[in-house]
Amino acid sequence: MPGTGTALSTRSQTWLLAAVALLVLPHLPRLPWWITLLAFGVGLFKLVLLRRPYHQPPRLLLALLTVAASAGVFFSYGTLLGKQAGVALLIVMLSLKLLELRAVRDGRLLVYLGYFLVVTNFLFTQTIPIALYMFVATLVITAALSVITHSSRERPAGSHLRLAAVLLAQALPIMLVLFVFFPRVAGPLWGLPKDAYAGMTGLSDSMTPGAISSLAQSEATAFRVEFFGPTPEPAQRYWRGPVLWHTDGRTWSPGRIGSYSRQRPEAVQNSGQALRYAITLEGHNKPWLLALDLPVEISRRALYTVDFQWLSYRPVRERIRYEATSWPHYHTGPLDPRLRKAALQLPEHVSPRVQALARDWHTRADSDRAVVQQALDYFHSQPFVYTLQPPLLGDDPVDDFLFGTRRGFCEHYAAAFVVLMRSAGIPARVVTGYQGGEYNPVGDYWLIRQADAHAWAEVWLPDTGWQRVDPTAAVAPERIEHALDLGLQAAGAPARFRLAETGLLVRSWRQLQFAMDSVNNHWNQWVLSYGPQRQLELLAALGFKQASWREMALTLLLLTGACLLGVALWMLVRTPAPSDPVLQAWQRFCSRLERLGVRRAPSEGPRDLARRAMAAHPEFASQVGPITELYITLRYGRPLQGSHEIQQLRQRVRRFPERTD
């Protein structure tokens, strides 16, 4: 067995190269091009080195390279800390370390860093394929550790892989116990680097119609919903998100009034059937908890705002699951004067054309409800086009949109509609969220994508309170019935919608997608979103009400111990101690003689021992004699002995000592 200072064999180095290559590969797409180049260069150079070890690069060169690469990481990311820069630095170091593998110590360090790299990969993606890939990578790197440990031996590669596989397989039950019972703490423990939540998409807390010429069209999952009982009609599938009160004519924001003042859910009056469901929300780094319009109950600690949003106390940064209750038909009661003022706020400048249009509706209609209807008729009858790639809007976006371009998506319609309503003296506000969703028949849940993001309006009417109005539906009713077909959008063209496909191939493909998403959903529910909340729920289901830390630790310890014991028993059962039954029986006989006070001397043969035993215990002589003779025949006699004699010997030994008087 080599000490850690012993030189590392070529074999170990080859294994390490393979393992590092396997680990670095999934990181490459995220890294700057020069790190990819460096990693490949080092890998190739190492391959040459393995054949021609005399070309070892001088230490000074390696030191310079290390400094240069660290500087490179700093210039690429502007920091050496944080998730991305940290991983980049780790990969650079790992690659360069490959060129400086001298002692066993270096090899072991490389393997440890390799395990670390496995885990860092999950900070970026946690899909099932990546998990499987990383399991294989862990297997290989563990085998590499075994090769390093056996540096002084030549054992076939397969034996190391097999050993690693056995170790990992035996570790699985313990891993499961730790995963389920290890007390989960809601992180972070300390400040996270700035880029920790980079890449989370979701609704924004402001809206600027016309500022961007195309909507972010993402197939990414926003959340999944399982209904307990009836599901809402397509026209009711509005998932409420941030409510925008304030506008400066171009940009809409929540303003000071709405989102952050509480109210009690009892203020809402139900009419009709309540809908109950569970939502698995992807992390989006914002506090709002999406729920079906109009949510009244939620199974998390959250804040209920005056505009009927549920807000989490902290930004939702990991996938969470909660149950909620909504009323599709509701009555919100009277309007607080403060809110009325906010709901009538208008930008400093509203164009005369817009004011005139609103005033005209107001004078012609006998009620607010009629004004709303006239506005919807206006959108429907005038040549408005629903498109995902509208032209940019000028200095007065609302005016420009209503009387100029007349092309836009939900944000444009919602914003223009609210400005018109407020101009007509009707309290109104913009609500953003999601609309629609796709039913997954395999997993029996609804999938809502980022592409389902939507904006609509709410107006306050004296007889019903706040009421949802979707001006987009007046222009493009299909938007409400069908999801957008993201593959078929052309610039400026009317939006295309996903209609029921009839082709067999298309249907099978969709079926497969449903199945895959269903598997993903279970993965998300049970593996990825297993955190403090889920753990509490699971422990409660297992009978740990209000589990204390001490109880948890004890359970953890007991279960881990039980798993280890199981593995130990399995291992020991597989390796029976002395396997020769004859020898086993004889050893048993000797130990029983010892209890009778006749201890076999190390050099004593069976006959001498028997003679002594018979002299000391004449009462057992009739047993000692045959046992000894049987043993001698079986052990030293003819080589072929049937199992009959062995059986006999074992039986006799088992009965010994037995008084036969």
């Binding site: 067995m1 850690t4 072991r108 360090l109 440890y112 860093l113 395990y115 670390f116 496995v118 885990v119 860092t120 999950f122 900070l123 946690q126 998990a131 990383m134 862990t138 563990t142 550790l145 075994s146 440990t149 056996h150 002084s152 031996r153 054992r155 050993l163 170790l167 990992l168 035996q170 570790a171 699985l172 313990i174 891993m175 730790l178 995963f179 290890f182 989960r184 703490v185 992180g187 972070p188 423990l189 300390w190 996270l192 920790a196 940064r317 593996v527 990825l528 979103s529 297993y530 280890l564 593995v567 130990a568 291992m571 020991l572 597989r574 390796t575 029976p576 101690a577 396997s579 190390p602």
Partner: protein
């Protein structure tokens, strides 16, 4: 196999030094095998801790899962490390005598009673380089442990250690063993010095005509049974007579190597000198006898006689 009382079980000495000398063969059972993490294993544990903190900090489920996987694997590897030593039985084999000042080698037999092969067994006696062996299932292997033989006399093998870092080098299991094994250490041979020509020295009565191999003495007629190698074939070809070359000249001197001929020296120096003379006498194919206070070994020659004399010197008290 001896049983330990609870009190004995927790003695620190057992942990650091083992149980003390015992008769072999010794089987390694639970009470004998200890396990602790290696330095590299501690580093590994540190890395696991960092991984766990990272997982908690980022609330990352898969990071938790893989940290637990790797940690569990380390836990399971403890069992493999233990299993690699457990149930092995050790006994000692030969320990050929050596001269003081050299290394005494003790043959150790390691038997694997089970079917599972054992790898990376490291046998190590203090102050000596370790020996590393593997054992196939149901096999016995040998290794030689060395100790410095500084003084003449009987050298016990003393405490030695069998350890293993199988399978991943994260943990080291070990057992201290002290099997009854002895190696005879002859005195260190002193400087060359002539054997005193005292009355004890006398030439052999029969002179130099005996059988021997050293000097050519003359020819005699062939007798059946003579070695064909000694037949003088040249003469046979020339004269048609079979003659046999006769050898003699083995110095048939007899010499007494006597303690009393070395007055004024201390015991060890005397023994060293006697040792040198024994070796010289043996090399010169003399017959010799040895006299020590209380011990007398009669005149004889040959290897066995030499070792008998050297043993007497080694064991001289």
């Amino acid at each position: 196999m001896q049983t330990l009382t609870i009190r004995d079980r927790f003695k620190l000495q057992r942990f650091t030094r083992g149980l003390g000398p015992e008769h072999g063969p010794v089987r390694l059972d639970r009470s004998r095998v200890f396990i602790l993490p290696t330095a590299s294993g501690l580093l590994f544990a540190g890395m696991l801790l960092v991984m766990l903190f990272g997982a908690i900090n980022y609330n990352n489920s898969m990071a938790h899962l893989f940290t637990f996987l790797v940690g569990s694997m380390a836990m399971v590897s403890i069992l493999h490390t233990y299993r690699n030593l457990a149930q092995l039985s050790f006994s000692v084999g030969k320990a050929p005598p050596v001269f003081a000042g050299s290394r005494a080698g003790f043959e150790v037999l390691a038997t694997n009673p089970g079917a599972t092969p054992r790898y990376l067994l490291r046998l190590h006696s203090p102050g000596q380089p370790a020996v590393s062996i593997d054992l196939k299932g149901r096999h016995t292997g040998t290794a030689t442990l060395y100790r410095e033989a500084r003084q003449r006399g009987v050298l016990p093998l003393g405490r030695w250690t069998v350890s293993t870092r199988y399978p991943l080098g994260l943990f080291r299991a070990w057992a201290h063993l002290d099997l009854q094994a002895q190696c005879l250490v002859y005195p260190r041979p002193a400087q060359q010095r002539p054997v005193p020509q005292d009355p004890a020295y006398k030439p052999h009565q029969t002179g130099d005509r005996g059988r021997g191999v050293d000097d050519f003495v003359g020819f005699r007629p062939y007798r059946p049974g003579d070695s064909p190698r000694h037949v003088f074939w040249k003469a046979a070809a020339r004269d048609q007579v079979l003659l046999v070359k006769q050898f003699g000249g083995d110095r048939a001197d007899e010499v007494w190597l006597d303690w009393d001929t070395l007055p004024g020296m201390d015991t060890e120096a005397r023994l060293s000198q006697l040792c040198r003379w024994v070796l010289d006498a043996h090399r010169n194919q003399q017959a010799w006898g040895l006299r020590l206070p209380g011990v007398e070994i009669g005149i004889a020659s040959g290897n066995r006689h030499k070792h008998r004399c050297l043993e007497a010197l080694a064991r001289f008290a």
